[in-house]
């Protein structure tokens, strides 16, 4: 599976020499970390107007998942999805460009930071409707199985999504029809400002089990744990074993959205943040590879990020006349909002 996998490694421009699994995971985590840090700078500088939902602290989940998937597997990401896309193999430059609303963006700037999609690496989308990527992934998986391939679909969502009716409905559909889907909950303990214990009665894994879907909870700060758990679920789906559910306990170091840089909310204890930072996936993954390799990868990642952000910043802006493009696949044109227009 590894040889087939389409993680960030290749994308991140490894000089071609065969890389160990640990190095591969570290590279993906470092790439996501630096991508998000650069994104926050670009938010501050006004180049990314929307702000972003940073996934700093959660990189191990994306990295482990990316390493467990084949490029032709389908992913439904979510609003905190930059890491998901990068781990799936999205080009960092085109993702920066997307977030800046440039013509060279993956989706020509029409998806932005909040709901990007990249069909070149089979990320079919990131719906803004929390939780609704799960039923879509179930439908994708059902269609893939129907077409006779061994491709699978994975849906990644947060702890806030597990109380959304459509997601719960999709667990039933996925189990009833035994679709090759993997449902992943990134439990980072909060939905915006809402602590998970104030939102979830019963348990998160119990929601999947209630519908006959095998479910397990794992440490989401260790990329190897994530990879192993995900690889198992993926293998089950691929071999016709039906859907699985995985909860990864993780944590976001930054605010829910960059608006928190100025909003000044007080829903979590700095102590708590510090504690989780002490289990930093970047450090954990870094500690597992030779210091010189780590240094080399860091330098390579730095080049990738610099090149990518420059590419995006140098990319052409969109033509204001194109505001109604892409609305319909069939190319239907709209009447303007003013008579005779």
């Amino acid at each position: 599976m590894m040889d087939e996998q389409a993680g960030a490694a290749e994308q991140a421009g490894a000089a071609g020499q065969p890389e160990s699994l640990q190095e591969d995971l570290y590279r993906t985590i470092a790439l996501i970390r630096r991508f998000e840090e650069r994104s926050i700078e670009l938010v501050r500088s006004g180049d990314i107007v929307s702000g972003i939902h940073p996934c700093i602290g959660q990189e191990a989940v994306a990295a482990g998942i990316g390493a467990a998937l084949r490029r032709d597997d389908v992913m439904m990401a979510n609003h905190r999805g930059h890491g998901h896309l990068l781990a799936k193999g999205t080009d960092p430059g085109r993702l920066f460009a997307e977030m800046m609303g440039r013509a060279t963006g993956i989706a020509h700037g029409r998806g932005g930071s909040f709901h990007p999609s990249d069909l070149s690496v089979n990320v079919y989308g990131s719906t803004g409707t929390v939780g609704h990527g799960a039923p879509m992934a179930a439908g994708v998986a059902w269609a893939l199985a129907r077409s006779g391939t061994d491709r699978i679909a994975i849906s990644i969502f947060g702890d806030g999504a597990v109380n959304q009716g459509a997601l719960l409905e999709s667990f039933n559909l996925a189990s009833l029809w035994q679709v090759p889907a993997v449902f992943v909950c990134e439990n980072n303990l909060y939905a915006t400002t809402l602590p998970v214990q104030d939102a979830v009665a019963g348990s998160i894994t119990g929601r999947a089990e209630a519908f006959g879907i095998p479910a397990a909870s794992h440490d989401g700060m260790d990329p190897e744990v994530v990879l192993e758990a995900t690889a198992g679920a993926v293998a089950r789906a691929r071999s016709g074993g039906g859907p699985s559910f995985l909860e990864f306990k993780t944590y976001r170091y930054e605010g829910h959205h960059t608006f928190e840089l100025t909003a000044g909310l007080h829903y979590r204890d700095p102590e708590e943040v510090a504690q989780w930072r002490s289990r930093d996936p970047l450090e954990l993954a870094g500690s597992r590879i030779p210091a010189d390799r780590r240094k080399q990868i860091d330098e390579e990642v730095e080049i990738v990020i610099d090149t990518a952000s420059r590419f995006a910043l140098d990319s052409p802006r969109l033509d204001p006349a194109e505001g109604l493009d892409y609305l319909y696949s069939s190319g239907l044109r709209l009447r303007s909002g003013v008579s005779g227009g």
Binding site: A107, G111, S117, P135, M136, S170, S339
Partner: protein, 324 residues
Amino acid sequence: MPYLSYLRAINRALGDEMERDPAVFLMGEDVREALTNTTIGLLKRFGPERIIETPLSEQGFTDFATGAALAGLRPIVEYQIPFLLLLVFEQIANQANKVSLMSGGQARVPVTYLLPAAGWRPAWGAQHSDQPYPMFGHFGVKTVLPATPVDAYGLLVTAIRDDDPVVVFAPIAAHKVQENVVFADLAPVPLGVGRVHREGADVTVVAVGHCVHDALAVAQDMAEEISVEVFDPRTLYPFDWDGLAASLEKTGRLVVMDDSNRFCGLAAEVLATAAEEMRLVAPPRRVTRPDSAVLGCVPELDLPLQPDRGQLAVAIKEVLKGAR
């Protein structure tokens, strides 16, 4: 020539398209038993892999269809009752219909949403009687409302082949309509192209769905005194503005008969656009349900709330009297 009923036309279109394209499948509630009559014989013909019986999880299976479409299939999703389209409105208007834009043209969602029983059913109550199509037009979801079996066949076929989401409304009141047809002549009907059912010179009556037949009957009754043109847009969104303008060029007088609520309903859009951009020599008129009418459980209360021929005849006369 054989008779084709409205629901048989839908059934035939579904069968023909499933035959033609293996990517087409249908999902919904009680579709195996063909409770709405649209899927009669299809389970036998195409098997349970293409006629999918769903639990009562409308939001879930609507998103599910979006996913299947993203993966290259052409789902048809059937809803038993009009209000179910309200239950899944977010999934259709805010998700499926925005995928093309949000993906910058990378992805498409060729789903057909079929409502075989739109509108009032005697005494089925306040929650089973709506005509929720204007809101789909407002959000730019392609929407068709066939008035005849031949158009039902042709528009449904086109909807299934269209690469964008399309909602197909089949008014209960049109189910009884039958047509003499040569099956070989049945063909796709393009979206956005209306149909002049009857030529006339004095007044244009725009009617949709089952109201088309009321309009034709009234036009016939009034034929001696007044020459009524009956225009059926057939597609609500995108609307055939050129067809309407051509008719008003002739008549300059407009009445719209529509079974949705008056306030911000389809008739409102037709009057507004005509008033802005087209030839009107007299104030136009609407014949619709009251502003926010809710039809309920008692026929004697509900019938007067639905647009009828008497109201249309009066409106036509008023518009002919009127002048600016």
